[in-house]
Symmetry: D2
Subunit: 123 residues, 4 copies
């Protein structure tokens, strides 16, 4: 089966990189939020999220930063915390054909919301 021809010919390459990048952004958030984490385990978790999400179609690179300061502040008496969206700064680079997009998720204090948006896209 020609997947591209059958399922994706109704959208442009530019739209495709947005589509695939956005799937990965939503997936990442909902897969890993809730994971126990602290300053010692954060680096391994970042690496694991990166490697997992880079497996998805059209994903060229994923950068994950877990805010160490927030980890320290949110820390419970048991010395760790459940990962939440406020602590995450994510970049997902998707590529298809000659097109490339950089999607971003960052917590916006004013919105009380980890906003996902397209940071950069080729015309």
């Amino acid at each position: 089966m020609d997947i591209e021809d059958r399922y994706f010919k109704n959208i442009s390459s530019r739209e495709r990189v947005i589509f695939e990048g956005a799937i990965t952004m939503g997936a990442l958030f909902h897969q890993f939020v809730g994971t126990p984490v602290n300053s010692e385990s954060a680096e391994t978790l970042e690496k694991s999220i990166k490697e997992a999400m880079e497996l998805q179609p059209c994903i060229e690179e994923v950068e994950v930063k877990i805010d160490r300061k927030m980890l320290e502040e949110a820390k419970s008496k048991f010395n760790y915390v459940s990962l939440n969206g406020d602590m995450l700064d994510i970049r997902v680079v998707s590529k298809y054909d000659a097109k490339k997009a950089v999607l971003r998720m960052e917590y916006i204090e004013e919105l009380k919301y980890p906003l996902m948006y397209v940071e950069y896209i080729e015309d």
Copy 2:
């Protein structure tokens, strides 16, 4: 803050509905895969997934079908199964401005993969 102006003016309304629909598709899969389910609880779970995911920005409607036949076949000795992507048929309708998209996820046997794609989009 004008969110639209600050974060989304680099993409068209058509791209925006693809973006928001795709986030919700990835989110849905990774939030709910693993949930214990059987024929008796499937309807409540479908309703709960629908209501949760319809909260996300620009999402007008979410339809969730869990394959009852697969639930029966996959059932363990304990009379339930962990929800997986093979059992899910999803439609996400996203809307922004005058544009609308219908995104679909369905398991494609030939690919051994629950494929997400744009089923319909307004020109």
Copy 3:
């Protein structure tokens, strides 16, 4: 295969209800934390969590309360929030043989932690 004889004869019935209740408590938290929720969808989500977790072995009843006041306070500009452990008050009733346990999870402000403990157990 006699599962009981093969896998569980090294623990008492009292230990078994603690074991099965605790699995369900950990499972519930990590399956559903992150789910989009607001005051309108909370009731359906509570019901769905209850029905899903009552499927697990030896679980007789699950009660789920999502704190409506916290939902309102935590609400983002987009009118919903990601479910987190602070908002959850859970009771899991497990039963095996003639033994019964009630496990509880509630957020303890002093610990900054959603603590799980055995609220009641038959001698």
Copy 4:
């Protein structure tokens, strides 16, 4: 607050290690099932699961093995798969006071179920 005195004096040390180990077992399964994984990323994912779950109270050690043969067989056209319970072999060592337990999860073909049980516990 003396947590031990307030919340845990109704169970024995032996029961406590079962309790804490079982929470971690349920948590692990429902946090990580669904994660994209293949042969290349499996080792990092195993390490990340281990480090995350070892943060939980009374958990001394967590061993995670993802079945490489199953990863290869289940692989989709896109060269990865969603982690599921069939692929996991887990040991959780919990310790409290002088007591220690080893909990195990392994997929039992005959039950079509990833069974969790107490593999070893000190008398």
